[in-house]
Point group: C2
Chain length 411, copies 2
């Protein structure tokens, strides 16, 4: 059994030294919900104040151009995209940031259908985070395409000559299970289809190399492991070879070749800039830009090493101390993201009782307790503390408190 001293030694000796200090975490909280909302990086509040008071309040409209205070809002989305790119194996200019994940998925799914005009099937996995399926159903209804649900255990079995796009979520939001991104990308290509990856639960914690995998499209949010703040804008990537033919449906002025020429007719900008539609969300992009400072000097390999060490420890301790609790997240490293999910009939009560003890995970209907291990700020000692509390909750029956009989939280 790992002792607290051993855990503290792992924290001190590993690559994570100094990472946690980049976050403003509340005292006495073990935060294991960074897979839902990342913690606050230390520089974000100051950056928001500076953007509001100096760039907006004082320099006003001139901040669209570069100014002494910073400004250059017109290139902000692109600059933020360049900082996300190395985390997903993308070239710097190939990541667009803006819009929500759902809107981004809508754009890329329609664009994918247009890139494969002879095919009309979108393949989506039915246990994915629901917005992916909702958007796909909406796209299918709008374009006359067909939505085909695949077997989560074998998405490639649904591929045939009619499939335009295989759209999968890299790491499952419920179970933390991870797909073989290169393997399924190759399978899609073998069938003549494009492949799109939803990286919401991967980016910033799990290695992703879209270029090496030869993937075609990707979308991801920035408020989980990227710590961009609640509702932070999503990013979109499209393989360079597809960009010249990229044709997304929400043609807006910021995706125009010459937005300020104010021409009547649309002409798409070159490259990924054509993925833009409206005026960029400058406050949110600025917060995200500051949040990405937490990744300065951090390699994806080190993130992954820390993440696996944390989830390995959590899995081992739960298996040892609570043998009756089902661990639904795969044990194999190559099939695991950066969260561990437990199945229990009283999962809702367990999560609530843990929150009351300062250990924040979350619940997913009907019986899943999720624990995210954001490698930038979760420590091995936190894992020990979390399991101690979990054991105490179950031993004392705190999860059966009548207060938890009615489920009230929205997240």
């Amino acid at each position: 059994m790992t002792t607290r001293e051993e855990a503290a030694r792992l924290d001190a000796a590993g690559p994570a030294t100094g990472w946690r200090e980049r976050f403003a975490l509340p005292e006495g909280v073990v935060y294991l919900d960074g897979n839902s909302l990342g913690a606050l990086p230390v520089g974000v509040a100051d950056r928001l104040v500076r953007v509001a008071t100096h760039e907006w309040g004082r320099d006003l409209i001139t901040s669209w151009n570069p100014t002494a205070a910073g400004g250059d809002w017109i290139s902000l989305a692109r600059r933020v995209g360049m900082r996300i790119a190395p985390l997903i194996g993308a070239a710097p200019g190939d990541v667009h940031v803006g819009d929500s994940t759902s809107v981004s998925l809508f754009k890329t799914m329609v664009a994918a259908l247009r890139l494969r005009p002879g095919r009309r099937v979108l393949v989506v996995e039915p246990s994915t985070f629901p917005t992916d399926g909702y958007v796909a159903a909406g796209v299918a209804r709008l374009t006359g395409a067909e939505l085909r649900w695949c077997d989560p255990a074998d998405p490639a079995a649904s591929l045939d000559d009619d499939v335009a796009l295989l759209s999968l979520t890299h790491v499952d939001f419920r179970t933390g299970a991870m797909y073989d991104l290169p393997g399924l990308s190759a399978a899609a290509h073998e069938a003549g289809a494009l492949v799109q990856w939803d990286l919401c639960h991967s980016t910033g914690a799990v290695p992703v190399d879209l270029t090496a995998a030869g993937a075609d499209l990707a979308v991801g949010c920035s408020y989980k492991y990227l710590n961009g703040g609640p509702g932070a804008p999503a990013f979109t990537w499209v393989a360079p070879a597809l960009q010249p033919d990229l044709d997304q449906p929400v043609q807006g002025w910021m995706g125009h070749a010459s937005p300020f020429a104010m021409q009547r007719d649309y002409e798409p900008a070159d490259g990924m800039r054509r993925m833009a539609s409206g005026t960029p969300p400058v406050l949110a992009l600025s917060a995200l830009d500051a949040a990405l400072d937490a990744f300065d000097g951090v390699t994806v390999a080190d993130l992954r090493a820390v993440s696996l060490s944390l989830t390995d420890l959590f899995i081992r301790l739960v298996a040892d101390r609570l043998p009756d609790v089902e661990i639904v997240t795969p044990r194999e490293h190559e099939r695991r993201g950066s969260q561990v999910s437990l199945r229990h009939a009283d999962a809702y009560g367990i999560v609530q009782a843990l929150i009351a003890r300062g250990v924040v995970g979350d619940f997913r209907d009907p019986d899943i307790a999720r624990f995210g291990f954001a490698p930038l700020y979760v420590r091995h000692v936190d894992v020990l503390d979390a399991v101690d509390h979990l054991v105490a909750v179950l031993e004392a029956g705190e999860h059966r408190d009548p207060r938890y009989a009615v489920r009230s939280t929205v997240t």
Copy 2:
């Protein structure tokens, strides 16, 4: 001729007393570009800090629910919409906020076509802010509809039995000319079409009563006269009678009847909540919510009275002192928004020379100098100062400075 004393007396006596103090305007600047980017309201920076440090940083994921610090992020978009509603003649629950203006226009245009299934023409005005036309062209191409450009002087002449939607911008971004919203709404209905109003250059400065006009749909941005900050989210309104059949194309989890049930299949929420797609942009919505405090206790009638008094004064002074400069904005109150545009071959140089003197307007290709009069913070003394500087620039030939031979600004 109005003297500075008379102007100061107008400012002190009018309904605007105390309004300007709600903004953090830089010293020595006459800001006449609130029609492009509204000034910073005083409470916004503090609110951003509180949301970042308390709601996000300290309370983390619990802030989706109501907390001692505020939180309740899940209802934030709706609460902000309720504050915009009285400015546009809408019932409180009928305004959705989120996404960009371009994405919002995309959703409402597709929805409008679905509400008029037997018709396939979208009528748009060709000199409108370009994103409206770009989005309409994209929607037409995606859905098989037809985009018909109307005569800006007579949009109703383009209406016939094929028209599903007449989509117009209430106040023109270049000229400041305002359409007859009730009259054109009635004309659209007479032809069996729906009418949509882009209120980007109206809301917060010009009276709008969508309910009284019997309009069908409306979209507007919140970073101009609503002062929500650069790239602040847009709002959408749909007439209550149309909401039960409202079917927008970007089906996302936040528009689902039960988002946290995480069901596989999409089922739209009741009312305007179905206009939502992705996770709401909490930081931007919080800034906008704080910005709307500047409207507390302010009536639309008072805003309009101040706005007209300011633009009347500017027009009169320019006409008196610079008779050779063409004023393109209509003189009739009922055809004027809250900006005044001047046409001049050296408009770019004029705007730059004025900025160098601390009078901030902006330039629109090829020959328009725009001056916005945001009634919440522009004063009659500012109008006098602006015209004094304009006269001085033209007399001294400052607008012909070789520095202004190359146009470099992006806005």
